[in-house]
């Protein structure tokens, strides 16, 4: 990989806090790299691990999950469910060989536009350092038996 690898990040935001934080970053013209593509959900509690796996399977190099600060969820306490799912998801993905750092959970209130932008930027850099995931696109994996070595001498009769 050359050092101009541009990670593709999918970000999930919640309608009330983090999506508005992203909007605020925009209104305040705070710049961040264009690698993240945001999806709006009503609540971080809507975050189904299926979405994360789908994003990774379809080519995302990292996934960012954002929501309201604990205690400030518009739907009272649904972001705690997101937190728990995030932690179990990360553990499971480790078993798949996916570095935990490829999934990040960020709490951002509607007033934290600058923070949102800086979290996005730092996450992009972290994923850039990890390298591309390019799930399943590595077709040059050869079949198991053609590369296995064999010693022809001393083959039993």
């Amino acid at each position: 990989m050359t050092n101009s690898f541009e990670p593709t990040i999918i970000g999930f935001t919640c309608n009330w806090c983090s999506y508005r934080a992203a909007d605020l970053a925009g209104t305040a013209r705070i710049k961040y790299p264009p690698n993240v593509r945001l999806i709006r959900l009503m609540c971080s509690g809507r975050l189904d691990p299926t979405f994360v796996f789908k994003a990774l399977a379809n080519g995302a190099d990292g996934v960012m999950i954002t929501g309201c600060h604990p205690g400030e969820c518009h739907y009272i306490e649904q972001n705690y469910k997101a937190l728990r799912r995030f932690q179990l998801m990360r553990r499971t993905l480790q078993g798949f060989g996916i570095e935990p750092a490829r999934i990040r959970l960020v709490w951002a209130s509607a007033a934290e536009g600058a923070r949102f932008a800086s979290e996005v930027s730092s996450f992009i850099e972290e994923v850039r350092a990890l390298g591309p995931l390019h799930w399943g696109k590595n077709d040059n994996v050869s079949s198991a038996l053609t590369e296995a070595p064999i010693k022809k001498e001393e083959v039993p009769a």
Binding site: L88, L145, A148
Partner: protein, 332 residues
């Protein structure tokens, strides 16, 4: 070959354990119905036949083929494509064919490492570290053996599948019911369900058939089945035992929870579910009784091997299909 007008039936096993064949035989007398109503043209476990016999058949001439086992090597893939060509109705039979099942767990490693391990572990007497090759010269000529594919695939990932019968193995009673249905269809008394359906199973999940009492769920800790003495009439999940029943398709009559063991998910996901493991991750995590990250971690530490817990049967059929080592070639 016979020349009766009975519709043709075939059953083939790819990368499998043979349990599906035994399940078919466990339908007991029902097997006689198969013989009475069908012309069994190809069934390696039960009768002698050669691949070239199948190749010689007309395309689409086999009415029903039950194909079990995952697609692990060239031969499996070849046979999958062959049986597809020759069959009208191709059923992915059993968990291996529908979702990868246990052979699919090989997708957690690099397949070359898998071969290496198989041929050099302590239980293998291979002091010279000889590995199989796909072709080898002997005085009589060149020998070919199938090559192992980089990843295990489900049947549907290789050919177009008409119906799916989940289970490891599918319950014999369900197999009997499907045989009955197909006989009825042949006799013009019933209609086949829409193509792509799951047959021989229910529409809900194992909880639907489980008789244990259920309350609002909170999990304070995960327990191993041998770690506590589970209350027989109470939901296992509520007792901290990670039972996959809530996400697993019904149809088995909740055999395992009835016997005191947690459901491990061999019947696969319910309708419309894109990733079985994701459903369980979401469900289990949602009901943990913790709000602080450290406390959540502490509870999750009790859930050993999440990959195995959530993807034991379903890995090859999941969204991610395999772990990184299976498809990512190591850099030099």
């Amino acid at each position: 070959m016979t020349t009766t007008a009975k519709p043709k039936f075939a059953m083939y096993w790819a990368a499998s354990c043979g349990g599906c064949e035994i399940a078919v035989l466990n339908t007991n007398e029902k097997i006689l119905d198969v013989d009475a109503n069908f012309d069994v043209v190809f069934w390696p476990v039960a009768m002698d036949a050669k691949y070239k016999d199948v190749e010689a058949m007309e395309d689409g001439s086999i009415l029903l083929t039950l194909f079990n086992g995952g697609i692990r090597n060239d031969e499996n893939e070849h046979m999958a494509k062959l049986m597809r060509r020759k069959s009208k109705i191709l059923v992915a039979f059993g968990s291996c064919a529908t979702e990868g099942c246990i052979p699919g767990l090989a997708n957690l490693s690099d397949s070359r490492e898998m071969v290496h391990t198989a041929f050099t572990t302590i239980t293998t007497d291979n002091p010279h570290e000889i590995y199989p090759m796909t072709s080898y010269d002997v005085p009589e000529g060149e020998i070919h053996i199938p090559n192992i594919l980089p990843m295990l695939k489900t049947l549907a990932q290789v050919v177009d599948v008409d119906y799916y019968m989940p289970g490891c193995p599918p319950e014999s009673a369900q197999i009997a019911a499907v045989i009955d249905l197909v006989i009825q269809v042949v006799q013009g008394k019933a209609e086949l369900p829409p193509k792509g359906s799951v047959i021989g199973a229910g529409n809900s999940t194992v909880c639907d058939e489980c008789k244990r009492t259920r309350n609002v769920k909170t999990i304070k800790a995960f327990n191993r089945i041998w770690g506590i003495a589970p209350e027989p009439s109470l939901c296992l999940l509520e007792q901290g035992i990670p039972c996959n029943g809530p996400a697993t398709r019904s149809g088995c009559k909740a055999r395992c929870p009835k016997a005191g063991a947690q459901c491990i998910g061999c019947y696969g996901p319910a309708d419309g579910v894109e990733d079985y493991g994701a459903r369980l991750i979401s469900a289990f995590a949602s009901v943990l009784d913790a709000k602080e990250p450290e406390e959540i971690d502490r509870i999750l530490d009790g859930l050993v091997d999440p990959t195995g817990q959530f993807y034991r049967f379903n890995l090859a059929g999941s969204l991610l299909k395999a772990a990184v080592p299976a498809w990512k070639k190591e850099k030099a």
